[in-house]
Symmetry: C2
């Protein structure tokens, strides 16, 4: 059977082949960078979405959906924003045979779709905060090489947009987004670092941007989300203001929080290995696959036993698939390993007669379970798998960072680098050149590793300077 390229030395090749083998997407759709969500990939996405919905709604955010198409006139109201997106939006110019009076943009993100309507919704301080989110597709006319989930032209996207009474409340919402994401990331078993991006890399139109970055081997990082503070940058141009308790009219302060299908890519990148994809059970399309092993002679009771077991596990809320196809067991083992299924249960005649299973989890742990408390043992085996998958990801995360104390050290970095930076843009660009990547910015909260005492700027040597991160964003 095929083996995958080496993950460490040929990461992108490894990633592309694993995604292909796991059947998470079909890239053969006849528009480059617009891929098909297969049944298996869609199930992973559905679980991801469910976690996002659960955690964001716990913070009081409500679901909405705004139109896909944005009139050019609205799209162009905020100057920095349009500059940031102008080169990469799709334009709808015709309806039937008619040229549209006002061309329409396929949303690249929904600020300019939502904010004219927010201006109608918000009148008084009693209408605040407004916290709404939507899960929709966005579109970017990507000119770089596209990669499934990581860089595509139609993007499955989560976006929260909020309006707050003042800057402090908006700052608080950014913090609340970060803690909501921490809970999501826990379900995804994805250790991450929240980093305030440097000025030159913030979202077009933002006051500041905090990115959620995940190290994915070497100096590579994957930005899987962002939360932005907009201050009044959009509420001014879009006229989103309210009557304050003192009778004055004020602009709202806004925030956004965005996540995307890159999370699917991040899960593959972080948890996958030489055998293919690996899903934490909260996200796995199938949490358990039962493989009935029916020998040429005998084994009549095996399939009914497998099906009854699957039904019981489903009644406990598990997503279970019985692979009763006519492939050989070895082919099935390989298939479900590449597909990242957390727990495989092999049942042959011996297991069916004894009321047991041979359980093999995606990290290779093999054990015989049952007959006493079989279902409980299976649920426990799944929980144990999740714990070990998480521990493995945490260990990889911890070794993904190292301190660099001079610019030359940044060359050929084999981890994301912790460096000291004075905050000047010129120094930032020197650092970016040295690492052949990006200054990711200053982490919010504590550093992912202990860097010791403050040090002078790695570029200019001046103090004060702050610990920042530099790497190679995918």
């Amino acid at each position: 059977m095929a083996t995958f390229p080496d993950k460490a030395s040929k990461f992108i090749d490894w990633y592309l082949e694993v995604v292909e083998a796991a059947e998470l997407t079909d890239k053969r759709y006849p528009v480059k960078g617009m891929n098909v969500w297969t049944p298996y990939g869609f199930q992973a996405r559905r679980q991801l979405d469910a976690v996002m919905i659960r955690e964001i709604e716990r913070t009081g955010s409500k679901p909405v959906e705004f139109p896909t198409l944005i009139p050019q006139t609205e799209f162009q109201k905020e100057k920095e924003h349009i500059k940031g997106f102008d080169a990469q939006v799709y334009w709808v110019t015709k309806g039937g045979a008619t040229d549209l009076d006002i061309p329409l943009v396929l949303r690249p993100t929904s600020e300019t779709a939502m904010y004219p309507v927010f201006a109608l919704w918000i009148r008084s301080h009693r209408d605040l905060p407004l916290n709404v989110y939507q899960i929709v597709n966005t579109f970017r006319y990507e000119t770089k090489t596209t990669r499934p989930f990581l860089r595509v032209r139609e993007i499955h996207f989560f976006e929260e947009h909020t309006c707050q009474a003042d800057e402090g409340a908006a700052t608080e919402r950014v913090r609340s987004n970060l803690s909501a994401f921490a809970k999501m990331a826990d379900a995804f078993a994805l250790p991450f670092v929240a980093i305030r991006r440097p000025e030159w890399d913030k979202f077009p139109g933002a006051f500041y941007s905090v990115a959620l970055d995940i190290p994915v081997g070497g100096a590579r990082t994957l930005q899987i989300g962002t939360t932005h503070h907009y201050r009044e940058n959009f509420s001014g141009p879009y006229g989103i203001h309210f009557e304050a308790p003192d009778g004055t009219t004020r602009n709202v302060h806004q925030t956004t929080f965005g996540l995307s299908e890159r999370l699917v890519g991040a899960i593959v990148a972080v948890h996958g290995d030489a055998k293919g994809a690996a899903f934490p059970s909260a996200i796995a399309p199938y949490q358990v696959v039962v493989v009935p092993i029916v020998a040429a002679s005998g084994g009549e009771g095996v399939l009914p036993y497998a099906n009854a077991l699957a039904e019981r596990l489903r009644s406990h809320g598990l997503r279970v698939h019985v692979d009763d196809s006519d492939e050989r067991p070895g082919a099935k083992y390989y298939r479900w390993e590449t597909h990242g299924v957390p727990l495989r249960l092999d049942v042959g005649r011996r297991e069916a007669e004894a009321g047991t299973v041979t359980a093999v989890d995606r990290l290779g742990e093999k054990r015989s379970l049952g007959p006493t408390d079989l279902d409980t043992a299976i649920v426990a085996a799944l929980a144990d798998f999740d714990r070990r998958l998480r521990a493995k990801a945490d260990a990889a995360f911890a070794s993904s960072f190292s301190v660099a104390r001079s610019l030359p050290e940044l060359k050929d970095s084999s981890t994301v680098r912790v460096i000291s930076w004075c905050g000047l843009e010129a120094c930032g660009h020197e650092i970016e050149t040295a690492i052949d990547g990006a200054l990711l910015g200053v982490p919010e909260g504590r550093l992912p590793i202990d860097a010791g005492e403050p040090a002078p700027c790695i570029a200019c040597g001046s103090t004060p300077a702050r610990w920042a991160l530099a790497g190679q964003p995918l």
Copy 2:
């Protein structure tokens, strides 16, 4: 407080005002016919989607998602289909400042997006049946007057696409779709009739089309879905074929099943009344609203009692809202009535002290519940409301049809008409002219009312003829 226009005599005015008052959508988005799903409307849609997903997955259909944009080259492969949609598709012609080599269509429906990929997925009879569905938005450059949910330019859409080994299996899938829809309609409390459309009104490219029609007062009907048999009409042009067990290569036979946000409109149209919208509890954004009534003096215990009650009901799986806004109780009653909430629970000091509630359902039934088995009594009150809402809809449905035995009788019909038709198109058009509407077609299965013995064609007088339905589709 505002009253609504008369539903019977001014249906569309009534409908528009009820949708507005119930805050199900915001029409003020700056593109005509593209509306905003408000938090309240989105919640109704979410429940609708959940019912659709549950019932279609029970039949073995799997979720997928295909891209929104379809290359012109693929879009034009099936001749009838393109003729049917050409005048009403949106065209993407530019990416950034670049003219696209091949213009892209925003999907009006996904046959032409999916079928090139189905041709890759299907190789052997073992790949059949292929039953997949997606819930996405579709786009139509509508030139007629747009109406929220009923006729919009961006449409929330459910579409199942299947490939079967032969015509019989495809016919069976159409039947299976009809019974899946019957289960959905049961949750929506929407009595419907499945009607095979006449040839001149079938889906572009279909072998035949069965529509799901709902009478909405007078002779008006609302088509809320369809299931189509395509035979080989698409599989030929798109090359979707398979190796049969006998080694021959055959085209698949295809079916589709489509439902849309019109269901939201249908629920408003069927269940709504002079007081506004009314939702069956399976679909209601909030199933229960608790209104704490706090008098100027006293009532300290009321809000905690209301909140604790709401928490308990939520733990039983109910969607509950506590309206603790500072509006007066009368304004709240009006609000939740227009919004169609099944059950309102008023709690004042007396109720809080006694451990009771005053329950008022959306059909006006008022009763004191508790203190014994309060939660159970509330759940039962909700079930009782659903039964009576359903009975009311069934009674309205039964009186929505009447037999007509001559063309002149069709003028100014006050119901949908049951008429006898020989099957000729010329006679069909005479009937359409007489009723100033459409020949809906011949019902699948039994007629919604008993029409007695077969009669000669209402237009030409010839026999044999079949009972058909004629009405005024919205």
